[in-house]
Point group: C2
Chain length 348, copies 2
Amino acid sequence: MKMDDRKQKVLLAIVHDYIATAEPVGSRTIAKKFRLGVSPATIRNEMADLEEQGYIEQPHTSAGRVPSEQGYRYYVDYLMKKHDLSPAEETLIRSEFDIKVKDIGQVIHKTGQLLSQLTHYTAMVLTPSIGTSSFKHIQLVSMNPTQAMVVVVMDNGTLHHRLIEIPESISAEDMETISSVLNAKLRGLTNENIKHTLMKEIYSELARHKHILDLAMELLEESLTKKSEDKIYLGGVFNMLNQPEFHNVEKVKTLLSILEQEKLLCGLMAGEEMDLGITVRIGGEIKNQGIKECSMVTAAYSLKGQRIGSMGVLGPTRMEYAKVISVVDFMTKNLSQALERMMRGLGK
Amino acid sequence: MKMDDRKQKVLLAIVHDYIATAEPVGSRTIAKKFRLGVSPATIRNEMADLEEQGYIEQPHTSAGRVPSEQGYRYYVDYLMKKHDLSPAEETLIRSEFDIKVKDIGQVIHKTGQLLSQLTHYTAMVLTPSIGTSSFKHIQLVSMNPTQAMVVVVMDNGTLHHRLIEIPESISAEDMETISSVLNAKLRGLTNENIKHTLMKEIYSELARHKHILDLAMELLEESLTKKSEDKIYLGGVFNMLNQPEFHNVEKVKTLLSILEQEKLLCGLMAGEEMDLGITVRIGGEIKNQGIKECSMVTAAYSLKGQRIGSMGVLGPTRMEYAKVISVVDFMTKNLSQALERMMRGLGK
DNA sequence: TTTAGCACTCAGCAGGTTAGAGTGCTAACA
DNA sequence: TGTTAGCACTCTAACCTGCTGAGTGCTAAA
């Protein structure tokens, strides 16, 4: 859609002012605040055109104009200027990531906190799905005469464990033996590689302990096949209540009821767009009735170039897109790096 | 405070009606709904007395009466009748606990869900602090030439792990050796029992690997001393928005901002009252400005008679005390039992 | 001691009025 | 032909006003 220069300026002014004040913007306001060098009357003419073309709308006759979804879309696609983070903000992010780089959970948590803190909207971070891998070590530990713990250490640094029931006849030494055999024969193999022939060999070697072996193999198989579950971290839900669009309890209720449904959110985050760039969805472009008055800025983060999770910011359609986009951009890059550092040397 | 029989009946009527309707209760309403056999005028006289004594108050001149905090207190202490759970509810709780008895996290989660679901208020469950214990197994696992994983299995069934940096000179066999030595010498000991003489012995035996030994011992010591951190699970925050007292966004905001502060909540839950019974705190009795219009019903749950965590329900002061108290009571008992079952046989 | 009756109070609502913000149109102007 | 001043018009939000009904407290009679 072609749009002449002055119309763009007027649209830009409306979007900026409305984002800042949450009040419909009138022609006088634009003329005064944005110094376009023309009178309110001229701006009124332009606004009438913009409304006709669907970029702005009027809440009621004697009110100013408000950007429509189409207007925001045009703004995001063509008018918006990049808005770099302040050095202070960049430093904050970097230092937080440097300090708290202990484990994945913490990094995700921190990411969410930073996202919501910097944008003042709600942050959503999807935990990385690292996919299948091989294992480094399996260990059976006797806990008491009738129970044992099976521990599997994966090559990506995660752990799986399970408590199993054992016959009293098995000694701690037996379990040590089983552990060694399993480690010696299977270590480093992926699920596909664990051939049945190999398993037969093991079962014949440890025939006495078939039952316990079954239980251990069950956990091992699960660990090898199962992708880590999608979990989502939410931060700054509270921020949304400061937005004037949520001064109405009914809206707060719909919003919160949606944010409570983890699965739904995961769907929204993990959805369609598999590219690495930033996706901006405005209002109805989010395929969900309940939050059709919100916008989402999402992006994937990666490990070794492979997309493994995503993060996003949810705010009112009247969102500071430029700011949010740069924050999300910067955060994905930093999170990817932090993960890279954390995983350095690990199998995956 | 002595109170004549009819006054008690009037107070009870006011509390019940206000809990049910959230509207100030007038003399006519009481006469009609509660059949005390006297006219509204008589009830008015009683109400005047009750107000003078501080049990009820009037929001404004021409409104009915509302129980004061003191009124709720009197109700809870003297007037309230026990309100057993319905068989259906009891069955629901029991069956949920039977199915989901896999790990502690899940049990806590389920408890919170049930609490909020049954009461329609917000549930808070503090994770058990199992305290110090001894360890069952320690294992060093080589991940790659420069990193290894230390895994410690505690006798209460929890796991601790950490990634450490290692010199390239150390082989996987070395690590196996170190693991065996540590297990052989230290297994089952508590932190106090690990004598310096013993440590010297180990260090001399494994002199070549002092560095890696240090790192492993560090995790081990931490695991042995550190109490599991207090974490809190919240459920049904959303429920509160259906309460008419939270139809005002400002109040929702203060409430949510408090519920976001985990530490504060832990303080409230873990606080003073260390006995096993149920504690009811009404309005200002909760030592927190922000939720002075709420009440809390809390109780501890236990393992082998020892208090190890607590749960609670947060609702408006206009709360269904009788119902909530019986739910909390039933839940603590069931949770304690579930934990008992889960820990059966484990060290602690 | 209880109750009927009555005067009084006050929140909330409906209806009416006003002020101000903002528009669209028209006619004059550059 | 594009721009602008002026003006009539529209509509919301705020304010006032009077009314209604719920509920009270007091008094005097039962």
